[in-house]
Each structure stands twice: as structure tokens, then as C-alpha cells.
Amino acid sequence: MTAVVPAAGGVPGVDVAPPAGLLRTLSRHWGFRVGALLAVMLAALAVIGPLLAHGPNVTDYANQLASPGAQHWLGTDGAGRDEFARTVAGARTTLGAAVVVFALTTVIGITVGTAAGFLGGIFDAWVSRLIDLLLGLPSLVLALAVVGVLGPGFSHLILAMTLTGWAGLAKVSRSYTIGARQRPDVTAARMAGIRTARIFTGHVLPGAAVQALIAATLGLSDTILGLAGLSFLGLGVQPPAAEWGSMLNDSQLYDTVAPWLVIGPGLGIIVAVTAATLISDALRDCTDPSRA
């Protein structure tokens, strides 16, 4: 390229790479490959696991706190329930909740953000103030406040994480939309007379959605840790339902006599967060123009 061409990367409203190219670049990134592999393994565990194990809520008081063996691969907990089965069930709960939060925050974020960016005016003014406010507050405190006020419970936990998570995605979508409004290709479409709605769905929405999804993926590891952490405090899933955080909480009682109870949920959280972190690191590497 000639020396005088200005760089388009890093400008809001302009995509750094079209999605097909992005996936291809990602697939060559070793961090992404490892992360994706771990994610697939976890997903497989969540799906197939229940077929391999005993029921997670089947109590067996005769067999409390059994150490790992052929019958119970990860031992049993204080009520004689199979720890492996509970770990697998916990995978579905924790990861399922993370996916739900991911989906909800993405949908809300994209909708609110693009609407604010596209419509402008008073609506945009109020929405962006709300977004900045939410982003200016510590998310853990907010989540605690939500759960604290509404009371412990799984749905309240998901609500808390969603309420604290959508603002960042809305901000990203909004700034992309605003940048896109000024873009020359959008101007050309306007001058050609293409209807506003079609310009929005054709030129703006796809890019904004991708930006929001990338941002949501970057926040995935924090979401999983937040869910597990709050459940650990007893504020999420209520017993006897299985969830990694609350299982770790339970294991505290028995740490002297049955330390193996930490393995299942602990490893589960570590693997899940590692997968999310590796994938989001790879995403950041592949979409940041200055690091390409």
C-alpha cells in the first residue's frame, strides 16, 4: 500500500476482520485450539456424563464420605451422594447458567446499544448515562446487592449477573453503531436511497453483533467465576441441587476427613475458566489491529 493510505483498523464502526477470516485466524492460534478443546470436553461431560454416573441426588447415608474408588469415582459427599455425578450435574448448572447469562446479556446489550446509537437524541442520552453508571460501579458489589435484596436463589443469581453484565456489551454496540453511521459505505447507501432499516440490518447490525459477541466472550471467564463465587457464598443454587460453587462450600465442612471432595468441582471451575480465558485471549490477539 502507498505510504499515504490511512489505516482503517481501530476506528469505531469499522470491523477489523470479516468473520470468516477471523475464524480462520483463530483456528491457527494455539491458545484458541487448546481452549476450544477444553470447552468441547466440558460440553461433552455435561451432555454425556449423566449417562455414565449414578444420580446426583441419590443419598446413601450408609456410604458417607467414601474415598474415591471403583464404585464412586470421586467418592461421596456428606449425604452419600456420588461426587462424580454431582460434578457432572454441576457442570450443567454452572455452565448452563453461564451460557444463559451470555445469551441474555448479548441480546439485551446489542438491542439497547444499537438502538441508542442509531436513534440518537434523548433516548441515546439517557441510555448512555445509564450504561456509564452501571459500568462505573463494581460488578461484584452490584451482584451481591441484587442477590442480597432479592434473596438467594439460582434465578436471582442469573438475574444479578445479567444486570451487571449487559452494560459493557451495550456500550460496545453503541459505539460501533455511532461509528458506522458516519462510515462512507453507509453514506453511499443513504445517497442511493436505500431505506434506513435495510441499511441498519445490512451494514450496521452484523458488525455490532460481532463486537458484542467478542466482548461477551471476553467476559465469559469473569461470569463463570462470578457465578461460582456467589454460589460458594451460598447465594445461588440451594441444596440439594448440585453446583460447583456450592459444592465447594459444602466441602469446607469435611476438609479434614474428606479432602477429595474439592477435586471434582474445583477442577471443573479451573478447566472451564481456563477454556474461557484462553479463547478470549486468542480473540483479543486476533482482533487487535496493533497486535496482528
Binding site: 500500500m1 493510505v5 490511512p6 482503517a8 469499522v14 470479516p18 452484523p206
Partner: protein, 499 residues
């Protein structure tokens, strides 16, 4: 004959990933002269500069000799190189903003020339040199940060920083290309004055014509021709030199297609802008962009809009395209419409790659205007796109490509194809050749001339006076938001350059 100041023999530079950038290059710079190194982008100019400075990245293989004042500097140790740099070798970078640490003051930037060598800063020298380059009252302004200075001024500051020790040789890598073209001459003049000897790198032969004593033409890593400026520009020996000259000339060519000059001005106007005013509000300040500006574009004509930056050219163009409305005055389109009908006006922008949606294959971008009122099937659109591409001489291009896979020149043609599909009455082009190198710019200008023949009108904004003189049927000058009545280029030439 005295020994040359800088003597390069057999310089070869190869990157570890493969490409050979410089391939056995020989070059001499005599003491006291200005040698211009000219070539297209990618030919190795910057690599050469960095090789002389000794600042190539690590994984690069360098062979050959570089001698400055008789001693070989190509294999100098880091310590001796440090002693050289700044004191005997000066460097001016292309982009003045990128050359300065954004969190430090401009004064710091210049004083680094002394501090880097551990010497004290002599008082008053900076101010003296800056006023010598045309920047007075430097005292308070030097406390500003780089982003607060204009490009031209900041480049002069960089030139000062590079020349405070009166180095024997100054290397200037495209010192004017990141700036508005009207400032280019001034900056080149400044850098020549400040240097004892100068190696000036550029992609534009005509630009350096007035400043260089000798010219060396670089192509594919080798020098293909050297000679005195006068002889090279009038009688080039190598065909690449001729190519560069022709490209630079074609957009400045005084030769206009016959039958152009006397067009009856009674052709109906595509758009008439009558005494419009536009003011922009930024924070608490109001900036008048246009004051009682007027413009008439007759059908089938190319109207050029010329003026310094910030004069309101782009605003006037936006009014003409109907996407902005003035606060006062009237805008009338053909048929008496007050606002532009759909597809009546289509744009061509300065940054061709950015003007296409990066995620859309070009067939989709090109045929977008055609989807206005009817639903077109994909095969229909592909067919339409192929025809449109043929019309802009890109018939062989695969319509499924993405803009990122095309060259800048190809993108601009695609943008023009998109504009044409809407069958507009007017094309508004805002600096359509500013991002292109000389050869490509010439091709685009040719294309625009061609499209005009189908009865289309073009409103063209450009800072390049020569381009406008060569291509426009009439030129409207604008300064501080006010327009002067349109003039024909021949009349302007007769008046002399006084605006």
C-alpha cells in the same frame, strides 16, 4: 572529484521471512547536495533509509558497504552508531505526530537531540532555529503537546530536532506526504534549508523537482537511473523513470481533450446552490463552515472545487449531495426539487477501501443501489456486478472478493462502479485521488473523464491544483467559507496563480 559524503556499494537487504527488499544497490550522495530518491511504494525506499541509519529490525540480513565520510558505518558497533546518530546523521520521519511521544512537550522532543548525547541544551538555540523555519513566538508554544500543533508546524519542529547538530547528512523519509499537499512545498523547502546535505525520499517526482539537485530512481530494490534533475525530467533514460514522469504528468497535463473548452453554459444545472450558509457547533464555539456560498453544476460538466484545508470544500460538497441542509440559502436540484431524489447524487470518497463495507463481497457493494426498488436475485446481481466491473475496466476481477483483498486503486474503481449503477445525474468526489500514488491517480482521473462523457456531471474537490486544471471544465475557489465565481482553467492560467 572529491569523495562522496555517503557511498553505498552493493547494499542488499533480505528479511528472514524471505523477501529481498534491496538487491545490490549503489548510491552516492555528494557533500552539499540534495539527492532525491524516488520510487513507487514498496520499492525499498524506507528500508534504505533505515539501513543507512543502522536501525533495521533484528531478523534482517544486510550485505554490502555503507560509507559516511570515508568510514564504514554498516558494521559499526552500537556505541559508535549512537555517537553518529543525531550528530552526523539526521532523520526526519514521514508522520510528525507518530514521531513524537504524545505525553511529552514539543520542547522535550527537540531537546532530546542534546539530552540523548548527555550534553546540556544551549539556551535560545531552539527558538532561533524555529523562527528561522518560520515559526515565531516559539517560547510559549513549545510547552504544548504534539497533538496541539498543526502538522506543518510539528514537522518543522522535527526538522529542527534532526538538524540542531548540523549533521553532515540528513535523511528525510517522505517528509511531506502525511501533510496536506499545499504544505508540502513549504516543508520540503524548510528541510532543504536546514540540512547541509540531504537525502530526500519521495514517491512523487514532480514534487521533488524543485528541491533536488540530483534524482535517483529506485525500482524493485535497485537504482535504475541517476542524474541531474533537469536532465532526468526532460530526457529520462530508463523506462520506469518515464513511467513515473508520465503518471505524475498525466494528472497535471495541460493537454485537454479537444472540443471541451467551449461548452454552452445553457445546459440545465444538475444542482444549483445559491448563497447557503452552514455553521457547526462544537462545544461552546460556533464555526462558520460556509458563508453565502454558491455553486452551479451544469449537466455533463466537471466542476472543480479548490481551496485550502478548512475552507469549507467538503461541506459544500455535502450540501451538493443533499445529505446536509444549509441554515440559509437555497439548494435546487434539476426538476425544481429542493432535496435530492434517491440515487440522484452518488459519492466517491478519499479512502477507497473504507468506502466499501469490509464484510461484503464487492458484488454486493456494487449492486446495492440497484436493490432500491426491486428485489434482485443473487445471480441477477452477480451479472449486474460483472457488467459494472467491465465498465470500469475491472472485467477480470472476481466479484466475490472482499475489499481487503483488492488494491487501493481497484477499490476506487469499485466505488465508482457502485456510484454508476445508481444512474446518478451527479457524482460528488471528495479528494478521490489523495490516497493514491501517482500512477493509480492518473488511471482514476482517466476513468472519471470517461464517465463524464455519458452526460453525467461531476463535482470534484481536490487540493491538487494541477489535477483540477487538467480535468475540470470550471473551477470554483473557496476560502473561509466564501466562494468566488467559477472560472475556466484557461482563464485561471491567464490570470496567474494569485488566489
Amino acid at each position: 572529484m572529491t569523495a562522496p559524503l555517503l557511498q553505498i556499494r552493493g547494499l542488499a537487504v533480505r528479511y528472514s521471512s524471505g523477501p529481498v527488499v534491496l538487491d545490490g544497490l549503489d548510491l552516492d550522495v555528494q557533500a552539499g547536495e540534495c539527492l532525491a530518491l524516488v520510487g513507487e511504494s514498496g520499492c525499498g525506499k524506507t528500508t534504505l533509509a533505515r539501513a543507512v541509519l543502522g536501525l533495521l529490525p533484528r531478523h534482517v540480513a544486510v550485505a554490502g558497504t555503507i560509507e559516511l565520510l570515508g568510514s564504514d558505518i554498516s558494521h559499526a558497533s552500537a556505541k559508535s552508531r549512537r555517537a553518529l546518530l543525531g550528530k552526523h546523521l539526521g532523520y526526519v520521519a514521514q508522520d510528525p505526530y507518530a514521531a513524537c511521544d504524545p505525553i511529552r512537550t514539543v520542547r522535550h522532543h527537540i531537546e532530546e537531540a542534546w539530552r540523548a548525547h548527555g550534553t546540556a541544551v544551549p539556551p535560545g538555540v531552539i527558538e532561533q532555529r524555529m523562527s528561522g523555519l518560520g515559526i515565531g513566538a516559539a517560547e510559549t508554544r513549545l510547552r504544548d503537546r504534539p497533538h496541539q500543533w498543526s502538522g506543518g508546524m510539528l514537522q518543522r519542529a522535527s526538522i529542527t530536532a534532526a538538524t540542531v547538530h548540523d549533521p553532515a547528512l540528513v535523511l528525510a523519509d517522505e517528509p511531506a506526504s502525511a501533510l496536506d499537499a499545499e504544505l508540502a512545498d513549504g516543508v520540503l523547502h524548510a528541510v532543504r534549508r536546514a540540512s547541509r546535505s540531504l537525502l530526500l525520499i519521495s514517491h512523487d517526482l514532480r514534487l521533488v523537482e524543485n528541491h533536488a539537485d540530483r534524482i535517483a530512481v529506485l525500482r524493485d530494490g535497485r537504482i535504475v537511473e541517476t542524474g541531474r534533475t533537469g536532465s532526468i525530467t526532460t530526457a529520462p533514460q530508463h523506462e520506469h523513470t518515464s513511467q513515473l514522469l508520465t503518471a505524475a504528468d498525466s494528472i497535471r497535463s495541460a493537454a485537454r481533450p479537444a472540443g471541451d473548452s467551449h461548452r454552452p453554459s445553457a445546459t440545465p444545472a444538475v444542482v444549483t446552490i445559491d448563497r447557503v450558509s452552514v455553521t457547526y457547533r462544537s462545544g461552546t464555539s460556533t464555526i462558520p463552515a460556509l458563508r453565502d456560498a454558491s455553486l452551479t453544476v451544469p449537466a455533463g460538466e466537471i466542476v472543480g472545487i479548490a481551496g485550502p484545508s478548512g475552507s469549507g470544500k467538503s461541506t459544500l460538497l455535502r450540501i451538493a449531495s443533499g445529505i446536509e441542509h444549509p441554515e440559509s440559502g437555497t439548494v435546487t436540484f434539476a426538476g425544481g426539487h429542493a432535496s435530492a431524489p434517491r440515487g440522484y447524487v452518488m459519492p466517491v470518497f478519499q479512502d477507497p477501501v473504507a468506502s466499501l463495507d469490509r464484510r461484503w463481497p464487492i458484488w454486493r457493494s456494487i449492486t446495492e443501489p440497484a436493490t432500491l426498488n426491486k428485489r434482485l436475485s443473487r445471480p441477477d446481481r452477480l451479472q449486474l456486478a460483472s457488467e459494472a466491473l467491465a465498465r470500469v475496466r475491472l472485467g477480470e476481477l472476481n466479484p466475490h472478493r472482499l475489499p481487503g483483498q483488492l488494491s487501493v486503486g481497484q477499490c476506487q474503481r469499485v466505488a465508482i462502479a457502485r456510484a454508476l449503477i445508481a444512474r446518478p445525474a451527479l457524482i460528488v468526489a471528495d479528494e478521490p485521488t489523495a490516497s493514491l500514488d501517482v500512477t493509480t491517480a492518473a488511471e482514476i482521473v482517466d476513468l472519471l473523464r470517461l464517465t463524464r462523457q455519458s452526460g453525467l456531471a461531476i463535482a470534484l474537490v481536490s487540493h491538487d491544483e494541477a489535477l483540477l486544471a487538467a480535468v475540470a471544465d470550471r473551477i470554483v475557489r473557496i476560502r473561509d467559507g466564501r466562494t468566488a465565481p467559477a472560472q475556466r482553467p484557461d482563464d485561471i492560467a491567464a490570470d496567474g496563480a494569485d488566489s
